[in-house]
Symmetry: C2
Subunit: 429 residues, 2 copies
């Protein structure tokens, strides 16, 4: 084994960073044996240097992250600060100054992964980011490497723990969205400002990363259709139950049937209780991958948290260090297919639509006509009436989303339709 240690700079020392530093210290011998050389924490860049950080030599702490990545003797930079800047500049600067990078930064990778990949390639460095998607669950490496000889057609997953916790609570207790969010906040599953989670931004970033890797093409955050779960109601959840389904916030990346384009989207959807994703509880994550030869694979585990995310970071650290010692690099960007990303309107899916309608003869015929005019075929209709009001629950067959949403718009214009109580896609069948 080489005795001269590999030097690691840690950018960020919050929940994940402090756990990375802790494990690097407590498991130093194991890491050295697996890498073939010891690793040394050479510097830790933080915003608040005065905070006490147990187990970290205060001499390593700096507020000057730029100077740290420019030192020139750093082998690997671990970036766990998140956000676009200064993370992007720090990473590209690290590449310029001889370091490879392990990052957990999903927002940056989804926003501008191409710049990072290009800089890594230009300087002959590694860019690894297992921790950016689904925490500890090995997902990036299986997609980039294990399935490199296969053709992935679909990725369908629960990639945000906060929203899964909220939906699980709504499902199991009948709570409304606000009540479930309050519980998630109280238990530390949701942040004080939950926007990134509940509006689906976090899941959309992960969908962009997964789609890009799965389909060997570039997919950016802007390419991902995104709907959050703030409008999911206890009534939606009850409707789902009546259909033998539950509601999950899904990230779905698909290759079009003709293979000539891809789509990526995040939205709440009803999935059958018999689907393995339906039984993913609390803040757990799980991702289904459908590949041509492999068939259906599922990866399940904790999608967030300091220790699980640190596990993913350290797995990447071992790989990047091994590559350094071998003077090689791992797989870089694979975007050779250059498939276009189609808009949401082209996605083929099914809708579950609840309408409040006037309780009089002919309403169903009117409604059915609107569906037919838009080329949308109806699977089932359930009609309930009371006190002159009635509700119609329509589940469609598969159709392009544009036709489905066009149908809903036209329904809103019907005089006999008092309102559209809920619309939700049905997936996983």
């Amino acid at each position: 084994m080489r005795t001269r240690p590999l030097k690691v700079a840690l950018l960020g020392c919050g929940v994940v960073g402090s756990e990375v530093a802790r494990i690097m210290t407590t498991h130093a011998d194991d890491l050295a044996a697996r890498i073939g050389a010891p690793v040394e924490l050479a510097g830790v860049a933080v915003r608040r240097p005065s905070r006490v950080r147990e187990g970290i030599d205060p001499a390593l702490i700096t507020t000057d992250a730029t100077a740290l990545v420019k030192r020139g003797d750093i082998d690997v930079v671990i970036e766990v600060i998140g956000g676009i800047e200064p993370a992007r500049t720090l990473i590209t600067t690290a590449f310029e100054h001889g370091a490879s990078v392990v990052s957990a930064n999903k927002a940056l990778l989804a926003e501008d992964g191409a710049t990072l990949y290009a800089a890594a390639e230009q300087h002959g460095r590694d860019l690894y980011f297992e921790a950016a998607v689904a925490g500890a669950i090995p997902l990036i490496r299986p997609l980039r490497e294990s399935l490199a000889g296969d053709k992935v057609n679909r990725v369908l997953g629960i990639v945000n723990g906060t929203t899964n916790f909220i939906l699980d609570r709504m499902d199991s207790s009948g709570a409304g969205y606000s009540e479930a969010l309050d519980e998630a906040t109280a238990l530390g599953y949701a942040e004080a400002d939950p926007t990134a989670d509940v509006e689906g931004f976090d899941a959309a970033a992960k969908a962009a990363i997964l789609a890009g890797i799965a389909f060997h093409t570039r997919v950016r955050l802007d390419d991902v259709h995104r709907e959050g779960l703030t409008e999911v109601t206890a009534a939606d959840m009850a409707s789902a139950r009546r259909m033998g389904c539950t509601v999950k916030l899904l990230a779905i990346c698909e290759r079009a049937a003709d293979g000539q384009s891809v789509t990526a989207r995040v939205h709440p959807a009803m999935i059958p209780l018999s689907h393995p994703l339906a039984s993913v509880r609390e803040a757990y994550n799980a991702v289904f991958v459908e590949a041509e030869a492999a068939g259906q694979l599922m990866f399940y585990g904790p999608g967030a948290g300091g220790a699980p995310t640190a596990s993913a970071v350290l797995g990447d650290l071992v790989a990047v260090c091994r590559n350094k010692l071998a003077e090689a690099t791992g797989p870089g960007e694979s975007a050779y297919t250059q498939l276009p990303v189609s808009p949401m309107g082209d996605v083929v899916t099914r809708y579950h639509i609840s309408l409040d309608v006037a309780d009089k003869p002919g309403v169903l015929a009117q409604v059915a006509t609107v569906f037919a005019e838009h080329g949308v075929s109806i699977d089932t209709v359930r009609q309930q009436g009371k006190d002159g009001e009635a509700s119609l629950v329509v589940v469609t067959h598969r159709a392009p989303d544009a036709a489905l949403s066009g149908t809903v718009e036209a329904l809103r214009g019907l005089g006999t339709v008092r309102g559209v109580a809920s619309i939700m896609r049905v997936e996983g069948e």
Copy 2:
């Protein structure tokens, strides 16, 4: 991209080999783009050269596998013939003559992996074998690489599809073992001679491979305690149901509580219906991995079959070819912990025991005394009597297997115990 192709020799052209050859042809452009160079099938060694092999140039077919691996211009040998010899000699000869190896040979890796690793290391070649365990499910790479910065404490999995199919049928239809085996045979899930599957040899080989990688130590097939499922009865399955459990053939690899030894075993066990492994149906495989930082991960998918296994082989082929081009090698054997493998008697587990006893006063006291004398604490007892006969169902607390099996031996010697109707371990709680 490099234009000179990498040359691949295929040893074996059965269910898996023919699928590998097919995908190498139909997806040649994708493989070339992902590797950075084209790959060319340079030779296919078979036993029966006269058989028609669609899509394979007859000029590539040879019966002389040794000459093929000695050609000197082969970059990668794919070994899918199975068995110990001639596979072992062919693989080591391939290493000597410049090739890296992708193998699906679980029996050989479990029996003598050390020889293969040493030969690969000596000649600076790669040995990859994702396909040897759980077919298409990425498991070896996640354990070797993704979790390389973590500490795995337990691997618990369903790694044999044939036996899972049989147990699933017994569970869902109430069929006995023979009947379920017949159905598995008729549907092609069981081979004409099902011994390797039903006696647990196949699962034990996989357990040895998984334990070795998970714990960074050498575990051979002989180190794995093995019990098949031929003695599992419809009555056992019914007992499991009454306890809220089902029966699965599990491969279990554990680090001892003190961290100083490991165990590996394969046997039928009751697991709670709430455990994710309980809902793994038909011939699917699934493996739970518990790691210190990552927590509980699960990997699920098809565990066998031509196309899924070929997917794993081709993923390895891409990795090995990339390494060749980079003049590097992937991770080799990691056995630095050198932990001893403890015998089954040291494993801490729980027993579910059904006894046929005389229906008279004092029997329970006698039985309870035997448990106490062996230091085994009883969790629950259920007593049923009719016509002078009675049955006692005892579920124990956790105890060393030696104490549990000693208890059972002593119970057999009691005059009031007419017979031990069934013994099964309880796991996954």
